[in-house]
Symmetry: D2
């Protein structure tokens, strides 16, 4: 097939750069344009402050950065959005109204009932909410959201546990990478030889988004912290299960967890979405964040602390599985779903 | 009074260096000697690899390092021990047998019923266990232990909560500084841009020591992690209380918590052992670890997440309140107790 | 004597905070007020984002932050300025015109011939330039500048070398702490696991300011870099000397270097402004930046690489000796000079 | 052709791990075995503490680790050595005597006149020294060395400058990554919020190896420092040239520098060995170390400071171009040279 034309808005930020990186050799999508705020518009993409660990894809470097303007968007098949939420709240519905398929990283609208909040392995069926969305809002396009990065990294390993054992209560403490706050979000003076036990709005997102994704009024307690790590969010998790378990069984059910993206062979789907490790001191962000090319969540320290009291540590790449990668995977699911505009 | 003669064994390690730093201008103790393993013995203390953030006290620099030899210990009034546990297990009882007062940082013997495991503000009365200890073991000296650093930083703010509200369950996740592992304990390759969600033996220590200190079979779940921070352990804590509470009341009861060391005006006692902060993004290790000259625990993010579900974040200096400072405070309590040899 | 009333403008930034910290128990100066930009004005100083390693002085916490307004300055004896240069360029001359003594950290006017650019141990006599300054400009007040932080840390150990051996050429490479760029100057994403080999304007400042300070058209080559260190600038320096030397002699001449501030016993003057160390792997920022309470420059790796080719590494605290401390020392010199307004 | 059988000795250390990573999909070499010290011998390679940023190649994980024993080496075509120098000094000559082709990272023998010290783009002709080596030593095998990592990163950009402009003097200051010291070489307590201005033996290596490589008694002054960076050595370099130059010409001659490895299309040869960048604040280790898949040196801040005074900053990946990658490239050159045993 001809590749679908993809457009990235908010393309100069950290998540925007991940979109550009991940779309570079994508078999289905072709990155045909990028847009950003006035400040960068008009420059070549190659001139921006690229801060990923591998060189910028050479084709992307040649693109001219458009000024984001909802009235003069190019003809494309899908828009990947990494806009700041307050901009996204204004612009994305306009895009959808004009017929664009928008797959978005921004936090606005995530909790609206007709908006799919997709972790493709966890709640693929929620994609069909777009039918209701279009009908109700009269849009010819549509909007799909991916959840908060910490939500995604929590919910992926939680899914098989919840399905097999049931979950009555969750206590989670996150240790999140600085890239989660954007390029200038955490000054070095604030985080060198330090950590910050607060991330604005993050705890509420974990609670509310997880409840929406699992369609369950789960009892979740979250404390979110920022640590001097570049990429990779680590989460120490306690789960009170409904059924009792033994540790080996939990390792097994996580290891064999597969879902629709794996069945469909979606290009960005990792072969194994949740990778339990038996190494005593893992997962570690620097060593495990690229598992499954950044799309797998690595789980370690799986312990039974008491009957029906499970503990483990989960780690995922915050700007790949937690952001751009998850959004692209959602778009791939949409392509295969027959729900495309 | 004449100062009591203090001797530091294991004096070249990180905790040993803290002992030396904190004893430098101590009003009651005079550092008269230091001992270390064969490797350092015979050199001047000024020649060691001093790694604290302020220059070595000039008097300490002049001391010659003794080879640790239980058969030729100098005549001193108190021995502060920062020996590796396996060495301590062998040497400390011998010292006590020979009549020495040993105040020790090492983890051996902490759980033995006749050994005081002291956080002077939390369980000062346990000091009197030394009577039983001496009687039972036939020692003319005695051994006092301070708990694991993470235990101490957890138990200090827990004490007033437990006293006022009752505690039925605790979930804790620690984020511990690299100095907790000793000078060479964590290679830089292992921790730069990284964290490690495992510290050998630490979770068991938190559980077992806290139960001993509070004389209660508390339900405690602990996950301990290492983060790229130099000094200061941070702990994200969830407490299920017996009585319900409001947040302001918890702030108040922590803020006004005082105990025997404050009443006695012990020199190393901080005016306020637990300092609740209202700043939304505190405590932070770099900014708060020196509160109360490293002897206070700073508590923030005090939240009520549900009825009888308290959450907060606690931070303390791991080698001061968590180690040498707490040990010196325990020795001061002993001086005032009338239990001295 | 009654203490002189000191006022800090630009008091909320990193250098402003150092002024406040260093003035807290100053024997000659009393901090009576602080000013900042509109954003902070009206709040108590205790509410700002204090980021130094020790708690904020309690008296400072009570001060109300004034909005900086040159037309309604309080009656004070000396103004310590840590304003951004573009603001300083506008405001400081107005202050001097209105009769205020301004001691400034900002880079504007540093190279003007009638402005003392003071490292009190290096060029104390330049203080008398203020006579010319006032006469020429018709000011009843005056302005004194301290040099760039890297300049100061280079020039202090250079002074005795230049005096004794003569200097024909200097190659310097700096490794500068992130606090040198201000609180938000270096994002953590930019510097974790990284360094940046460029600091805007810094190389020119080192060259031009050093030439002015030594009144010599020295051949200086500078490369300035930013490293993930919080405080303390390190400089690797090669000096081509005019006379030949042996290393011991250089150690000696640095060690015994004293100057007017030491002779006058100025309160902020370190007993030994330049401290050569014989430890093979020093100076190191974390271990040596607080030498002389942050006012000494520690020098190590003193080597003779060839005849008349001297190499060494110098380190100083960038916001104490490199900024606020040096400015306060300059003010103390002024107090003793008889040149006071 | 059939792939050549490669064997890595010292395979569990950081450089050993890089060999294993880079040989994983190598078109000419097949990794058939790994050896290490007694401690690891007998375990599967998959069980070691792998610390590279990408997962261990799955085929390598299956290899059993041999105990290094020169008397029972397997039949292989080439041995890549990452042994500690003192072990290498004993073992490598024995291997060569027994007919093995040894390509080594270790520092022993580097300066012996009949041992090629190869940067394949800089001194490819030195490979022919092996003829003399075998003749003189009576070896049926041979030994090739790669230089110190900092030497390589200096000499690559120096080569075109030296060829075109001549070089009379070099001042260099390195800022080296912690992986250069091996896994446990730099404790985190030693380097967090810090740097260390000394690396044992490193300055001499830069001077002596560069002189050997360029066959010139160059005047070189080196200061080597360790910084809290994981991978990538940065070097601030001043070069006194013989001919005068303009900056654009230097950019050009670096950019177009190609050599034998590029002409021969060696698999590990980067298309462009030296990449000058015009970005004002580059090269930076985190962003540039993977240029040319870790085999290019990125050069920035190219400046003319005075007539015939060139300054620039160079950066290369210390364990790829600086170690294992350079060694593999040397082996590739040997394959094509007709000098193979």
């Amino acid at each position: 097939m001809d590749k679908l034309r993809a457009y990235v808005v908010g393309a100069t930020g950290l998540v925007g750069q991940r979109y550009v990186q991940l779309l570079a050799d994508h078999p289905w999508f072709e990155l045909v344009g990028v847009a950003a705020s006035e400040r960068s518009a008009g420059r070549r993409y190659g001139e921006i402050n690229w801060v990923l660990e591998t060189p910028m894809p050479s084709k992307a470097a040649e693109l001219k950065i458009d000024k984001l303007d909802v009235d003069s968007l190019p003809k494309v098949d899908v828009i990947f959005s990494a806009l700041p939420s307050e901009v996204a709240a204004r612009v994305e519905p306009e895009m959808a109204r004009r017929g664009y398929v928008v797959v978005s990283n921004s936090s606005n609208m995530r909790l609206e009932p007709d908006v799919p909040l997709l972790i493709p392995e966890v709640n693929p069926d929620d994609l069909s909410l777009v039918k209701e969305q279009r009908a109700r809002r009269g849009w010819s396009g549509l909007i799909i959201k991916k959840p908060n990065c910490s939500t995604t990294i929590l919910d992926l390993p939680l899914k098989p546990v919840l399905d097999e054992l049931g979950v009555s209560k969750i206590h989670v403490v996150t240790m999140q990478a600085v890239t989660g706050a954007g390029y200038a979000g955490v000054p070095s003076v604030a985080i060198l030889d330090n950590l910050i036990p607060y991330i604005k709005g993050e705890e509420e997102k974990i609670v509310n988004e997880t409840r929406k994704i699992f369609k369950a009024d789960l009892e979740i307690y979250a404390t979110t912290t920022r640590v001097p790590v570049l990429d990779g969010h680590t989460e120490a998790i306690y789960v009170d299960t409904v059924k009792d378990f033994d540790v080996e069984a939990v390792v097994e059910l996580m290891a064999r967890f597969r879902s629709v993206p794996q069945e469909l062979g979606l290009p960005t789907a990792p072969p194994q979405p949740v990778i339990p490790t038996r190494a005593i001191d893992r997962p570690q962000p620097r060593l495990d964040r690229m598992a499954g090319r950044g799309m797998s969540v690595v789980v370690g320290r799986i312990r039974k602390l008491a009957p029906r009291k499970l503990a483990f540590v989960a780690l995922g790449h915050n700007t790949i599985r937690g952001a751009a990668g998850n959004a692209i995977l959602a778009a791939e699911l949409l392509v295969k779903s027959g729900l495309w505009a």
